[in-house]
Each structure stands twice: as C-alpha cells, then as structure tokens.
C-alpha cells in the first residue's frame, strides 16, 4: 500500500469509528477491532500518576462484545444521542507492524429534551494494524481529560 493509501485508510477508520458509535451501530462497530484488541478508557489523573486503574477496560474482543451485549440487554442508562468530533489525525510512526495514531476527540451527549452537553474531551492513542489490507484497531485507548464522569459511562467514547 502506498503511503497515501495507508494515510487514507487510517483516516477513514478513525472517522468511521466515530460515526458508527454516533449512529448506534455498535454491533458493526465491533468489526473495527482485532480479536486480541485492547479497548480502554483511561482517566487522565491516573495516567499522570502512573496508576494502573482504568475507567473501562476490555482486554480482548470478547470483553468488548460483552460490553455491547450488556448495554443492549442489561444496563439502565440515560437515554441520549452521542456525537463525536474528531481532531486532526496524527500518524506518529510505525510500531509493532502497525501504526501509532493519535487524535483529540470531543464527545457530546444530547438528552431527550434536546439539550447537548460535553460528555468527554480527551485523546485517542491508538495502534492500527492492517489485516488483508484492512485497517483494524489493535489498541483503542481514550485518555479522558474529563475524568469527572458526568452521570455514568455507558456508550463507548
């Protein structure tokens, strides 16, 4: 793949990730991950202090599937729309056969009265690999500056 081809593919994956979440296509969204993926939401205060606790952590795709299953079947949470705004995608370099990628995000939630609030702002620190020419997240790590979680953390960041 050409350098431009890689860049385009990574940018498309980063954008699709957000749009699938916002469109509530969570089951299809799972297809953006490798089976051995790490999906984590980290609190910036723990990251700064080098503490291992996550806000949410799935250490393989099955755990991520369970999260989505639990949201669909088990959890009671605030009824809302999600909207992710992605900043410029930076490809930091090659790593472990993939690409280390960073981008800032803002994640808004809108309630049933049509009132929108910033839910989370932070940075994605991802590792994207290519399998059969298709880009996939091996690591999707959202470091949340908004570590004071408003209400509850239900739908993924």
């Amino acid at each position: 793949m050409t350098e431009t081809g890689v860049r385009d593919a990574i940018n498309d994956l980063m954008a699709d990730y957000c749009h699938y979440l916002d469109d509530d296509r969570l089951e299809e969204w799972l297809d953006f991950f490798t089976e051995d993926c790490q999906y984590k939401i980290l609190s910036r205060e723990n990251v700064e202090d080098d503490l291992p606790l996550e806000l949410l952590s799935c250490r393989n795709k099955n755990m991520l599937r369970d999260r989505i299953l639990s949201l669909r079947e088990a959890n009671i949470y605030n009824i809302h729309f999600d909207k992710h705004l992605l900043g410029a995608v930076r490809i930091l370099g090659a790593e472990n056969g993939g690409y280390r990628v960073q981008a800032n995000y803002s994640h808004y939630q809108s309630n049933q009265d049509g009132i929108s609030e910033l839910f989370s702002v932070g940075t994605y620190r991802d590792l994207i690999i290519f399998a059969d020419g298709k880009p996939l997240f091996q690591e999707k790590i959202a470091v949340a500056d908004t570590f004071g979680i408003p209400r509850l953390l239900s739908t993924p960041i």
Binding site: N46, S70, N75, S154
Partner: protein, 422 residues
C-alpha cells in the same frame, strides 16, 4: 442567623422521608454544620496514599475542602484548605509532597503541622508597613480537624463532641474494616462520578439491598447478587451504619425464578458472557461472603464485590449535585495476575460499571421527579416497619430508616409528630 428549617416526618419509625429533605437549600446548609461539621467521623483518605513524610492530598468533608498530610515525624494532620490570612485556597494540587504549605496569594508559609512560620516583609520597608508590632505568628494555625486512623483508614471530625472513632464505628463496622484491611494495601487508582442528585439519595441507595438485585440486571443475571441468595443487612447499635452482604452461589433455581417472576427484564437465565473471567471469584477470606457494601455515616462506602475492593467517598455539592470519589486498591502482596484480575473486576463498578452504572441514573431521576413534590414523602416499608434492626434477608430497605433516625437526631428534626402521610 438563619431559621432552622422544619420538615415533616410523619412516621416515628422513619418509614416516611419528606422529599423536601432532598431539595431544600436551608436543609442543605444546616447539614454542612450539623452533619459534616457535627459529631460525626468523616472518611478522609487511606494511609497508603500518604506513605512518606511531607505527603499531602486534597479531599472534602461535605463541601469543605480539606488537606490531609503527614508531617516530618510521621504524624497525620487534616486542615481546612484555607489560608488564615485572606481565605485563599492554600493547597491547589490534588496531591504531592512538600516541606511546607505556601499560600500562592501572599506567600504566607505554614509548616506541616499547620503552624504559620513566615510572612514576607514582616517589618515592612524602611520601617514603614509590614505586620503590626503585636502580631503573634505563634497564634496563627490552620483550622485543624481532629483525626483518627483505623486500620489505615483516616477519618476526621470538626467537633469536640464526637465520641472516639472506635465507639463511633462500633463492632459491626470494625469487623468489616478488619476484614477488608487485613493486610497492607496498594492503591490502584481513582474514578470520579458526578451525580446529579442529593447526597442522601446515594446514602439511601447503598442502604437498600433490595434494589441491588432488581435495578442491576447484570448482578441478577450472572448470579453475583440475587435477592434469593444468602445475605442480609447488619446494622450497628445506633442504626446509622450498615453492612449489606451476600454469598454468591447460595440460591436455587426455583426460589430465584419464582421471586423474579414478572420481572423478566431483570433476570435472564439464558444470557451468557463471551468472556466469563471477570465474574470469577477468588476466595480471599475464610468466610463465604462475596459482596460487602459497608456504608458508614455520613460520607463513605467500603466495597468488596468478589475481588474488587474500593472506597467510595461522598462529596456534596449543593442540594442536587454530588461527586462520588472512588479509590480502588488491592493488597501489597498481590501478584501481577491478581492485580490484573482486580483491574478486570473494576469494570463491574464505578461510573462505567457493568453493575453499578445505574445508580447515578436512579439518583438523578428521583431528584428530578421530587423537586415539585416537596410536601410529599418517600415510602420505606420493605423489610417491615417499626423496629430498626439487623435484617436476615436482602429484600429489605430497613437500613435507610436507620440512616434517617440518626440524621434526624443530628438535625434536630422530630419524627412522628403528625398523623401518617398521604
């Protein structure tokens, strides 16, 4: 002086709670004085967070910012986080290590015991300005809380009238703290949840074993906590603290499916996880207790859910907002695999917890619904009315009545003066 608010508590057994208690700003103001600065012991921090001389951290008692620190002799102190000069927040960092506290505003410097040590330009310049001649630095000391530590858990009180901590906690609570802190701990990290409801609604929530198996479907479905299991609620002698406990695997299919009949959304026996490792319980105690929710009046919950251990501190923020500050820990001798297991199980609770995310939502929805119903009352009768005592079943909310019996005593509210409510 403000008028002392009055609320109607129609039932002498506290089986009715006036909704105004969750909404009235005068009640909230009084709570800061009578509850959080009253003869109660408030959870401040864990000693493991302050291992070294000079370590400090910022915390809250109700809405009051407080600094806890360890001085050069290893003694712990707690101060209101306010400079004695002009009221500036003295310590702005979440935590750190420092040889003294220097106010950013005018550089007044306090030592680690809270004693004022230095003021810049004390004699002014060329004999002009500076401190008055009779200014006595020795008399200026940060406003100190009395603190006591039990098994590495630091509590503080503003009141000279507080009983000793050990008596305040009582044997029901110390038994659980002994159990949860039976060996040195290691801090794993923090989570914060901003809940849009009154701080007492969260206290109600953790004193309501009944909701655990009903609101939290994840619990019921995977058998971590079902109302049909062996469990109950142990109250201290005064009824102000509560231990909700259960043992997983102690229920049978018949009792469970009969009990949950008509609530098909809650208990779904056919629902399975792709990765069950998170639900594994690794026995750490000689007993078979797999869940402990220990609520200590007024501001802390200690949790064991399988191998997930944490404290949850309630920080108030007005009538309709609070922060829940979660401190997760493991034991110092945990190996890497056990630490990973605890981190995996941290997914069960906290703001994003598979089990517990609902609580933040439930508290907010009650707050919103009762705002314009302040002359009405919540009904608390599950588990029985009348005497407030230890419960041998999880189908109970009696501990909520225990909380309010002590709350009303501190607040000066009389219960049962009027006929039964609506």
């Amino acid at each position: 002086m403000r008028n002392h608010p009055s609320l109607t508590w129609p039932a002498s057994d506290f089986s009715r709670i006036p909704f105004a208690a969750y909404c009235d700003p005068d009640v909230y103001e009084d709570e800061q004085e009578r509850i959080f600065r009253g003869p109660t012991w408030n959870y401040l921090a864990l000693e493991a967070e302050l291992p070294n001389a000079g370590d400090f951290l910022s915390t809250k008692v109700g809405e009051t910012p407080v600094v806890v620190n360890r001085d050069s002799d290893g003694q712990l102190h707690a101060f209101v986080n306010r400079c004695m000069h002009r009221g500036m927040l003295l310590c702005r960092e979440r935590h750190g290590n420092s040889a003294n506290f220097i106010c950013p505003y005018h550089q007044w410097t306090y030592d680690l015991t809270g004693q004022l040590r230095a003021v810049p330009f004390p004699h002014g310049v060329n004999g002009e300005g500076g401190l008055p001649k009779d200014f006595d630095r020795e008399k200026i000391h940060l406003q100190e809380l009395k603190i006591e530590s039990y098994k590495g858990v630091i509590f503080g009180t503003f009141s000279d009238a507080s009983e000793p901590l050990i008596d305040y906690l009582g044997p029901v609570v110390t038994y659980e703290i002994d159990r949860l802190f039976h060996k040195p701990i290691r801090i794993l990290g923090y989570q914060r949840q901003r809940i849009f409801g009154n701080w007492k609604l969260y206290n109600d929530n953790v004193r309501d074993p009944n909701h655990g198996g009903l609101l939290h479907m994840f619990h019921a479905t995977f058998g971590l906590y079902r109302l049909s299991q062996k469990g109950g609620a142990k109250l201290d002698a005064r009824g102000r603290h509560n231990v909700t406990w259960n043992s997983l695997g102690t229920d049978d299919e018949k009792t469970t499916s009969e009990g949950y009949e008509g609530t098909k959304k809650v208990y779904k026996p056919k629902f399975t996880l792709n990765d069950m490792s998170m639900l594994q319980n690794r026995t750490e105690h000689p007993d078979d207790v797999t869940l402990v929710i220990l609520s200590v009046f007024p501001n802390v919950v200690f949790q064991q859910i399988s191998n997930s251990l944490c404290t949850r501190q309630i920080r108030t923020n007005g009538t309709d907002k609070m922060e829940l500050y979660w401190t997760y820990y493991g034991y110092a001798d945990d190996d890497e695999e056990m630490t990973q297991h605890r981190l995996d199980q941290a997914n069960l609770v906290g703001p994003g917890g598979l089990i517990s995310m609902e609580d933040g939502e439930a508290v907010e929805l009650v707050q919103n619904a009762v705002q314009r119903e302040q002359d009405k009352h919540a009904m608390v009768e599950i588990g029985g009315t009348g005497k407030i005592e230890t419960q041998k079943s999880l189908v109970t909310e009696v501990p909520i009545r225990g909380f309010y019996s002590y709350y009303c005593e501190l607040m000066g509210f009389t219960a049962g003066v009027e006929a039964a409510a609506e």
